[in-house]
């Protein structure tokens, strides 16, 4: 089987499963809608159906299955509905929409591309800040016992603060001191992404074994030299595992930072979608965010392979 065969196969299986699951998930609303249109369904009233088993409902009303894949406000939209929405909001909106790329010359705020761009730029900035901060902190922790003992526990505490709860507050406070636009979101995104980096790098920077560090000692290498020539190269497997998590966390951070909805972005889009019951819109944004994450993780994976190759490959 080719490189991508398994992926395609699994995706196909996933879609099949998805369609199957959408039927029992949406059957109640489908039946209610049918009932309103005068179709006789079994059992006849919503209150009776409330306590019935979903699979039982499907079995009793096989004719309504297609309707379960065509709900306006489904509990679980069918894949084609989401694809349709994606097509609409990613492609058609830019081509045909009043504010689309073709008619106005800039990306439309009703399409998703603009929001992807907004979120992506905050993510990138936050990821860079977070990674740099995380690596620096890990270096400090590995080099100073005082840092390790006093800062590490608080780095942990910092992550238990539900930043997401405070995110809007932080954005507001930063706004009031004149920081706006990308930076507040990037800061939240950095806050979420630095921790996996710290944890992984503290372990990675300590991964060299005794002989490897002893060698450096006999050469009287400075702390900096030990860091750049031994600890950092030895920590690469840990770094990349951490970076994959960090980049995903940075994306989550950026999206969370968009909760105050000002300025758009995928987070604002999802939330607004949720307020107005635009299920397809939430799912479209959600899947796009997930695809973005997968893309970013894959990019890190690519960087990892490149780095490993430059570092001698196997063993």
């Amino acid at each position: 089987m080719s490189r991508y065969g398994p992926l395609l196969l699994l995706v196909a299986a996933l879609f099949a499963l998805w369609y199957a699951a959408a039927v029992p998930m949406n059957i109640r609303e489908a039946l209610s809608a049918a009932e309103r249109n005068g179709v006789v369904v079994e059992p006849a009233t919503a209150i009776e159906r409330r306590d019935a088993n979903a699979l039982g409902l499907v079995a009793a009303n096989l004719a309504q299955i297609p309707a379960a894949w065509a709900q306006d406000r489904p509990r679980l939209p069918a894949p084609h509905q989401i694809v349709g929405e994606l097509w609409q909001s990613v492609v058609m909106e830019e081509i045909e929409g009043q504010r689309g790329l073709l008619k106005s010359g800039s990306l439309s705020n009703r399409g998703l591309l603009l929001h992807v761009w907004i979120t992506l730029s905050a993510t990138a900035l936050g990821f860079v800040i977070g990674t740099v901060a995380g690596v620096l902190l890990a270096v400090g922790i590995v080099h100073s016992r005082t840092m390790e003992r006093s800062v590490m526990p608080w780095a942990i505490v910092s992550q238990t603060v539900p930043i997401v709860a405070l995110a809007p507050m932080i954005v507001v406070v930063l706004y009031s001191v004149g920081l706006q636009g990308l930076l507040p979101k990037a800061i939240i995104s950095a806050y979420l992404s630095f921790f996996p980096v710290v944890v992984g790098m503290v372990k990675g920077l300590r991964a060299p074994d005794a002989m490897q560090t002893d060698l450096m000692r006999t050469w009287d290498a400075s702390g900096w030299q030990v860091l750049t020539r031994l600890r950092l190269p030895a920590s690469m497997p840990y770094l990349f595992a951490s970076l994959k998590i960090a980049v995903a966390a940075a994306l989550v951070g950026a999206i969370v930072g968009e909760l105050p909805v000002q300025g758009g972005g995928l987070g604002a889009r999802m939330l607004a979608g949720s307020y107005y019951g635009q299920t397809a819109q939430i799912w479209a944004a959600l899947l796009l965010a997930a695809a973005l994450a997968a893309g970013l993780v894959a990019a890190i994976g690519g960087a990892q392979r490149l780095a490993l190759r430059r570092m001698g490959g196997a063993a």
Partner: protein, 281 residues
């Protein structure tokens, strides 16, 4: 101005004390180990108190630690109920299910190239299913109570745990693997006797990162619907009432729970991966 100088002096003084405690002659005493982070925390709290008072920050923006402490002490029964709902019911069950599922998936991925090619990209697709998007949907699917919070946690911890376990299972040297081969070890004994032990440092990395993620997930999911208790519920409603002292008291509960949880996992890690250079110190 004088407050700034006082704060600075205090910072320098306590940091110096900390350096002495951490590296000085007493550094191996158990109480000194405990005292260092506490002192650091106390330093921050004092600075916070000074800053809030000196700058006259409105209470509805940031209350001083003293007031938060008082509110915390007053509301212990209420906060205990929130703790049970959010941490014990929501976060812990989600953590166990999520990490367990990721662990098993990682093993399957490691076993079958098919899954490695097919499932791993799909899983990274799940990496950043942002909580903002998933939480409303999961609340819609699993109801308002802790089950939906656990589901959110499962989704959040799955990927970090998976990535770490997969990386860990690959972390054996060629000679270690060759030895196993020369004994004609089957897949399972290779897994149990070699790859899992060698993966432990990575697995614990994942477990540690997930402790805090689990808390965040459980708390934030409550923003999207909850019964009338829970830490997330407490935080949102208190923000609405501008009872910022209560907000921070709830955060304090989360921080205590999170630190304890993390500490516990780190302790187990010490026991399990004692052999790793990073633990031999």
């Amino acid at each position: 101005m004088s407050a700034a100088i006082l704060a600075l002096a205090l910072w320098l003084g306590l940091w110096a004390l900390n350096v002495w405690l951490a590296t000085g002659p007493l550094s191996n005493r158990i109480w000194a180990r405990m005292a260092v982070p506490l002192l650091f925390g106390i330093t921050i709290l004092i600075l916070w108190e000074i800053a809030v008072r000196a700058l006259q920050v409105p209470l509805v923006i940031l209350p001083p630690p003293s007031q938060i402490g008082a509110r915390f002490a007053e509301s212990l029964p209420l906060l205990w109920g929130d703790f049970v709902q959010t941490i014990l019911r929501g976060a812990l069950s989600g953590y166990a299910i999520g990490c367990g599922a990721a662990f098993l998936t990682a093993i399957a991925v490691d076993r079958f190239v098919f899954l490695q090619r097919g499932l791993l990209p799909l899983a990274s697709f799940m990496a950043a299913l942002p909580i903002v998007g998933t939480a409303p949907i999961l609340v819609m699917w699993f109801g308002f109570d802790w089950q939906s919070k656990a589901a959110v946690v499962v989704v959040m911890v799955f990927f970090p745990m998976l990535v770490n376990t997969v990386a860990g299972l690959a972390e054996t040297s060629a000679m270690q693997r060759d030895l196993m081969k020369s004994w004609g070890a089957g897949y399972w004994s290779g897994l149990v006797k070699l790859r899992l032990p060698a993966a432990m440092p990575f697995i614990f990395n994942g477990l540690k990162i997930c402790t805090t993620l689990a808390l965040i997930g459980a708390i934030v999911a409550e923003f999207f619907g909850s019964p009338t208790l829970g830490l997330g519920f407490r935080i949102t409603t208190s923000v609405g009432q501008l009872a910022l002292d209560m907000v921070w008291a709830a955060i304090l509960v989360a921080a205590l729970a999170g630190t304890g949880f993390y500490g516990l996992v780190a302790l187990i890690e010490r026991g399990v991966t004692f052999w790793h250079p990073s633990q031999r110190g």
